[in-house]
């Protein structure tokens, strides 16, 4: 194995080398042949003997292992590092929480593959595992051979997600995505790796996944993926009925989608309503709905489709968004959201990204952010309603960021204030599987475009759901690529980041935005204000590291001084810092975040921010060197000011309970899911 792989097995210390980008020790070896090495596993078992053995076995498989002996701690870890893990292995019998409950929670909130294990091999227990959605069940004593193959579950799941997400997308979109993804082997390198392999896998599996909706329904918790198309249908139906009269039953009938249940529609409708309310009042709704809606809208604005930022710019320049978008935006923004039925369906579609679970958290956060967003309200672009909504979540952070970020951005902001948001969205979109990186990039580059872009991106992703509203999440952390999408598929096109960095400030902004959004998605609970870490985030963005990203982002703050006046590093950003523009860095291992938390311990972003700024390389946390290194790239850690308290606390607290094996900055190869290299 190459060095990296070896290193990955061990604790990944921060690799100060320039190669920081790769997940692995930064040896810079090609990730492609490393996979499944570097797979980030969280193992939960109250038995210390088993835990230790599993840890060793997993390490021997060259996975990045984090162990914890309590389910609560595991959940916390997972929540704080939304994209920090690829797979969870949990014992069935645990004193503090039933393993199946944990399984359910993880499936609901993070949608990660969960493997159950137990010394109990009785049929009914195994059956329970199946019905609760476990993707595998191991009988103790577990042999290393059994662990060697767990990566298949990760791939399978991602593949399904991809399929679902892209299912709705236009063929071209998919093609684009596909292209974004380099061939499987190639993809593994650095941050994009995750996305890459996912993508490539997706490509391969393309043919067999017709059923987007029920794809994951095999899990105990069948999730309906509200693709853009589906959402569009939904919106059409709602509009037809009239928002006040739209009842799930009727909507279902109108939509006439096989396999869709009234419950699916009902919950979606609820989210939609909240979203609308949010748009109208910019009132923080705890529901993640907002984000969901914002999901990767298919270039709602017809013109936008080409978006890549060019359009946005144009829009931005003119301060006018295409009529459609404007209208839609406005419609959204208005309290009379209900009326937005008039909005082009398309827009609506975009708005609803559905991955509420993620959004939910983000939403919460954004609420705070929404305030910031309001700042932009002044700006003419109405786009934002939608975007704001989504952005709101992240908006806070972004809002602030945008402001700072470049004037360009502000210009763009003209469109929607949301600049930050749009960008993030775009990013998010990119992340979302849509390998739409290309789009994203352009979008990002163009500060404003964000609004437009996101739509595009969203469309790509089709799956807006995952996008998590990430776009909105101010998470500057940017891993734009990621989180949006869908659970991890944030594919934030690695490209996008790269471009961003190049583009300089403006790009940063976009990054920040996206990141912010993404982050919010990821962490939902974080309130980061991606102060500009967005840029960093973008670069770094590891979709998965969202949690961490916030922390890490601060590091590069210095670089982007322009962007951010201050680097409030959110602890999470710090963690992520490792991102290098090349995006390969996805690694901001959660461990880092934890460290960061420890460092700053204050849980204040500010603390972290400062901390990080000071040390780039010797950060004990081991901030990914990537960040530091890429002066050009603006990795900038966005000092995100995430509401880190939760982040920090999460980081700090769990420390006792969690043993992060190698989470340090190292590997995030997987989180990124979609970053195309």
């Amino acid at each position: 194995m190459n060095l990296n792989s070896g290193q990955s097995a061990k604790n990944m210390s921060v690799v100060p080398s320039s190669s920081g980008s790769s997940f692995k020790s930064g040896a810079g070896d090609v990730v492609s042949d490393k996979f499944p090495a570097g797979l980030r596993v969280l193992v939960v078992d109250d038995d210390p003997t088993c835990l230790r053995i599993l840890e060793k076995m997993l390490r021997n498989c060259l996975y990045e292992v984090t162990k914890c002996n309590r389910a609560e701690i595991a959940l916390k870890l997972l929540r704080d590092n939304k994209n920090g893990y690829d797979v969870v292995i949990s014992d069935v019998h645990m004193p503090d929480m039933d393993g199946f409950k944990l399984l359910e929670q993880v499936g609901l909130e993070m949608d990660l593959p969960v493997i159950m294990m137990s010394a109990d091999d009785s049929k009914n227990v195994v059956m329970k595992g199946v019905t609760h959605g476990a993707c595998d069940y191991l009988i103790k004593p577990v042999r290393i051979e059994a662990l060697k193959n767990i990566w298949q579950h990760v791939v399978r799941k991602k593949k399904h997600e991809w399929k679902d997400k892209d299912f709705e997308q236009s063929g071209s979109a998919e093609e684009g995505e596909r292209q974004l993804k380099p061939p499987e082997d190639v993809d593994y390198t650095s941050p994009a790796t995750e996305g890459n392999w996912k993508m490539s896998k997706k490509r391969k599996d393309e043919e067999d996944e017709p059923e987007d909706k029920d794809d994951t329904s095999s899990l105990k918790k069948p999730r309906v993926v509200w693709s853009v198309e589906l959402h569009q249908q939904f919106v059409v139906a709602v509009n037809q009925l009239g928002i006040d009269k739209a009842v799930p039953k009727k909507i279902l009938e109108l939509m006439n989608v096989p396999g869709l249940t009234r419950e699916n529609v009902a919950s979606h409708l609820q989210k939609y309503r909240l979203y609308l309310r949010r748009l109208s009042g910019v009132s923080p709704h705890p529901n993640g709905l907002n984000n969901s809606f914002m999901g990767p809208p298919e270039a709602p604005f017809g013109s936008m489709s080409a978006l890549n930022g060019l359009d946005l710019q144009a829009l931005a320049a003119t301060g006018q968004i295409p009529a459609q978008s404007l209208a839609s935006l406005q419609a959204l923004g208005r309290p009379t959201l209900k009326n937005h039925i008039s909005m082009p369906v398309v827009d609506q579609r975009n708005l609803f990204s559905f991955e509420t679970p993620k959004l939910r958290d983000g939403q919460q956060q954004l609420n705070g952010n929404s305030k910031q967003i309001n700042l932009f309200h002044g700006i003419p672009t109405n786009m934002e309603p939608k975007q704001l909504a989504s952005l709101n979540q992240s908006a806070q952070s972004f809002g602030g960021i945008n402001m700072h970020v470049n004037p360009q951005v502000s210009q763009n902001c003209s469109l929607p204030v949301q600049m930050p948001h749009p960008m993030s969205r775009a990013q998010v979109l990119n992340g979302n599987k849509a390998g739409h990186v290309p789009r994203l990039q352009s979008a990002i580059g163009q500060p404003m475009l964000s609004n437009v872009i996101p739509s595009r991106i969203l469309s790509r992703n089709g799956m807006v759901d995952k996008v998590h509203g990430a776009i909105y999440s101010p998470m500057s952390q940017g891993s734009p690529s990621v989180d949006f999408s869908m659970n991890n598929s944030v594919e934030m096109p690695g490209n996008s980041f790269v471009d961003l960095s190049n583009s300089g400030v403006s790009s940063l902004t976009s990054k920040g935005i996206i990141q912010g959004e993404v982050n919010s998605e990821i962490k939902g609970s974080r309130d980061f204000l991606p102060s500009y870490d967005i840029f960093n985030e973008l670069q770094q963005h590891k979709p998965q590291d969202w949690g961490m990203q916030n922390v890490g982002s601060t590091f590069d703050a210095s670089q982007h001084s322009a962007l951010q006046g201050r680097m409030d590093v959110s602890s999470s950003s710090l963690v992520q810092q490792g991102f290098s523009p090349s995006q390969t860095n996805r690694n901001v291992p959660i461990g880092d975040a934890i460290f960061l938390g420890g460092e700053g311990a204050q849980g204040n972003n500010a603390t972290f921010g400062h901390k990080f700024n000071s040390f780039p390389a010797d950060n004990p946390l081991r901030v990914k060197t990537e960040r530091l290194r890429d002066p050009g790239c603006h990795n900038n850690l966005f000092p995100q000011q995430f509401g880190q308290e939760d982040l920090m606390s999460a980081l700090l607290k769990p420390q006792e309970g969690i043993v992060s094996v190698e989470n340090e900055f190292g590997f995030d190869g997987y989180p990124m899911d979609d970053l195309p290299v």
Partner: protein, 151 residues
Amino acid sequence: MDVGQLQRSFLEYTASLFRDGFLDGQFSQLQQLQDESNPEFVFEVVSLFFEDSEKLINDLTRALDQQNVEFKKVDAHVHQLKGSSSSIGAQRVKNTCIAFRNCCEEQNIEECLRCLQQIKHEYLLLKNKFETLFSLEQQIIAAGGAIPTVE
């Protein structure tokens, strides 16, 4: 004793443990996991096991000592012990746990108590065996040799 002799003793002793059913294939897995980066792995894990199982056994004793024995609780402890013993390859202990669980299912206090005794017995036996094994290892190292890899 010279290193060679020590090493042979070590190997023979280990082989006997397998032969007598104290250890099974899972223990070999552990041995294989031990490497330069974790030279004390087996020792570490076995120590963890003994520490943990001691607690479990105490809990079991307490649980069975109650007026109203909660068999579910007892069963949970035994299950846990079964899991960890099987993880390190402590075959006899594991088998005793299996029998113990059956007694719990039948809610037979007498039998449970007997199983508990058995567990304690097996536990102590195994502990002794390991102490001997580890001391042999230490002697080998002290004599400048390397621990021979079994199997």
